[in-house]
Amino acid sequence: MRTGRIGPIGPIGPIGRIGRIALIALLAALGLGACARLLGYRSAERAPFAHRAHVTKGIGCLTCHTGVDKAGDEGPLHLPGTDTCVKCHQKPHDNRTCSNCHGTPGTAVDLADARRHLRFAHVEHLPTVKWNCMRCHLGAAAPGEHLRPAMAACTACHMHDAQFAGRDCDSCHVDLPGEKVRPMSHLVHGPDFMREHGARAASSTDMCATCHAERFCSSCHGVAVPTLPSRMSLGDPLRADMHRAGFRARHAEAARTDPGTCMTCHRPETFCAGCHQQKGVAAGPIGGARRSPHPPGWVGPAVGDNQHGREARRDPASCASCHGGAGEAMCVSCHKVGGVGGSVHPPGWTSTRNLGEVPCRSCHRVGP
């Protein structure tokens, strides 16, 4: 007797299993097909313009892009309209505007952005390349429609070594910060960008500064910021900001997970202590309105739940965020030399710091 696992509608044999897999695959394919447009896969009716087909038939670029050979760094884009197309395609298959279907909408936007942000004059370049547009517009020979030449096309002739070394971008880029174009080589703004950018920017500060103004850095690293950057851009949940969403609720967990990171921007003794004192979770006068965030047995004899020493070594900034400055007196009362708390230094600790200076003198009495 054949045995099989009992499914909701009976035994599932090999054929039934294959059938189910096929059904799931079919549903997945149908689902993907239905979502294809949503995912950005294009149907043929909105294909890139067939530049290659026109070029291989010997149609010169200037036939359609009339006047572009005399274009300066301002003026129209010289994109052909339907009237240009019907000069050759005298019996169009559709009466609507040709560019509604032939060519992707992003192309015109891309070219308009280039016109607005770049100092470039075709009239100055065409004689140099002997009126061969393909020297720069390599995309015209490919099936795709990335027609705006990459910056590498510029630097193939213009070495720009001096400008690059001096970060002199203004000779071509009208207003690089205003351009807000992220270079292709700069896709580091992923989910963990806040960690990665520090390493990337360390050697490339001036490269960052070609696009990012001073206020961009200071909006996070500044001590005089008015509010979180995300507050200043209400309604933009895609903005990659530090401390997004409900960070305030989980900031203690974040600090404990990544000890020391907060101090990249914040001084715990000044930044944290202000709020912690307001909320009554900081060290304060005995009997005052405060509540301890620590579990029972946090301090006391070095047995049981007394974990404050180990936790303090792991994340001293968290301690300093409430007990820093004048609050250090609380620690000193037990840990001063000869005190019941014993030495705060780890085994093998050596230092040549002056015992008469802060913070050593808090516990070490020097002189008579």
Binding site: G190, S218, A224, P226, E253, R314, A317
Partner: protein
């Protein structure tokens, strides 16, 4: 100090606004207000180019909050009171940035004066009132800065100053190796003294690294970061290692800086893949270790753009951190002249200490541009957190931008 900076800010802003003949001058004003408690904020940003060698930038703000708002006074980030954030003032303000940036036409030298961020090599970024300069010669670059560390709310502290510099050499097009040093003094006492090394080597594998050595006795590594990234078609993968010593990030005058060196280490991989023309998927996985205690972190994020330009988008993020598990969903949807957005987050802490099982947060906003250069937004934020059982806040913002052609 306060009067001097305020006067400088006002003069700079007036100068920026009164240059109709100059090109690329921008001034932007933002007003932000919330109802719980009544808090208002006005931010003015201005930047522009006076000539080919001189640019200026300023961000100044003023805020108002209820004087007796003791718990939620920082609802918009406006901190009440004195420099330590405690007090009873109801009008506050500060200067975030005021800089004049001078640049030699050849690009061989640059200088900044005012209030700015000095981010030099592997050293921690410093917000200071002072000056910085850069000189470039061939493949070499020398930079330095000096000034007074910025104090919130235009405060001042006696005998606080910082100074540092960096020497770097460029390799190839974008490769670089730099050596930096700085020290910072508070009330005349040495608080921080570090030397840093940074390196970048772009190529098929894009490598960047930095390390800072704390020179305070005993000498030791305070912060190090190595990142190597490679891209292949729609996939970008990054491998990273970090090490940070929390006690060395504290000023040497802090009692907590003598507790010993217990560095926190982290190693992991992050990946971004364009799974479909409009769909990006990000992955992050890392291992952590500190004081012999291991931990792990995993995060997945998917972003689906709803149109080719990405004006509309929907995303979902799942994260398992060492101490909490959370999810965040967000949506931005253009609706004619309006743009609606929704952002939700739910966090479950492993050890909530009786502060509630789930910490939810949500913000729904409507944004509109009623006229050219004008932008307005209305938002409702609702949350429950360990600090309070629940809270709801209505916020509104209004922005105006002036461009002088």
């Amino acid at each position: 100090m306060r009067r001097r900076l305020t006067g400088l800010g006002t003069a700079l802003l007036l100068a920026l606004a009164a240059r109709p003949a100059a090109a690329q001058w921008r001034l932007r004003g933002d007003v932000l207000a919330g109802v719980a408690p009544p808090v208002g904020l006005v931010v003015l940003e201005a930047d522009g180019r006076a000539s080919s060698w001189l640019t200026a930038e300023a961000v100044v703000w003023t805020g108002a909050t209820r004087a007796d708002a003791s718990v939620d006074s920082d609802a918009l980030g406006v901190r009440v009171g004195g420099g330590d954030g405690v007090g009873n003032d109801d009008i506050v303000g500060d200067v975030q940035v005021i800089t004049l940036h001078m640049r030699a036409p050849s690009g061989r030298a640059e200088a900044r004066v005012g209030r700015f961020i000095a981010a030099i090599g592997a050293l921690p970024p410093l917000h200071l009132d002072g000056a910085a300069a850069v000189a470039r010669q061939g493949r070499f670059r020398v930079e330095g800065f000096a000034g007074i560390p910025a104090v919130p709310r235009l405060g001042a502290a006696a005998f606080d100053w910082t100074a540092g510099g960096r020497v770097a050499r460029r390799f190839g097009k974008e490769g670089a190796l730099g050596l930096a040093y700085y020290q910072r003094r508070g009330v005349g006492r040495l608080e921080d003294e570090e030397v840093g090394v940074d390196a970048a080597w772009p190529g098929p594998v894009d490598v960047a690294a930095r390390a800072a050595l704390d020179l305070q006795d005993p000498i030791g590594l305070s912060d190090a970061h190595l990142s190597a990234a490679a891209r292949s078609g729609p996939l970008r993968v990054e491998v990273f290692v970090t090490s940070r010593s929390p006690s060395r990030r504290l000023p040497a005058t802090s009692l907590f800086s003598v507790l010993g060196d217990v560095p926190a280490h982290r190693a992991g991989v992050s990946a971004r893949m364009r799974a479909a023309p409009r769909l990006d998927v990000d992955l992050l996985a890392s291992l952590r270790a500190q004081d012999g205690e291991p931990g792990a972190e995993v995060a997945v994020r998917a972003l689906l753009r709803l149109d080719d330009r990405g004006d509309g988008a929907v995303g979902l993020e799942l994260r398992r951190d060492m101490l909490w598990t959370g999810t965040r969903a967000f949506l931005r949807a253009p609706m004619g002249r309006l743009t609606g957005s929704l952002e939700c987050e739910a966090v479950i802490a492993d050890d909530p200490h009786g502060r509630g099982a789930v910490w939810p947060w949500a913000l729904a906003a409507l944004r509109a541009a009623p006229a050219r250069h004008w932008e307005t937004a209305l938002a409702l934020e609702a949350s429950a957190s360990p600090e309070y059982s629940s809270r709801m806040q209505l916020m509104a913002s209004l922005s105006r931008r002036w461009d002088v052609p």
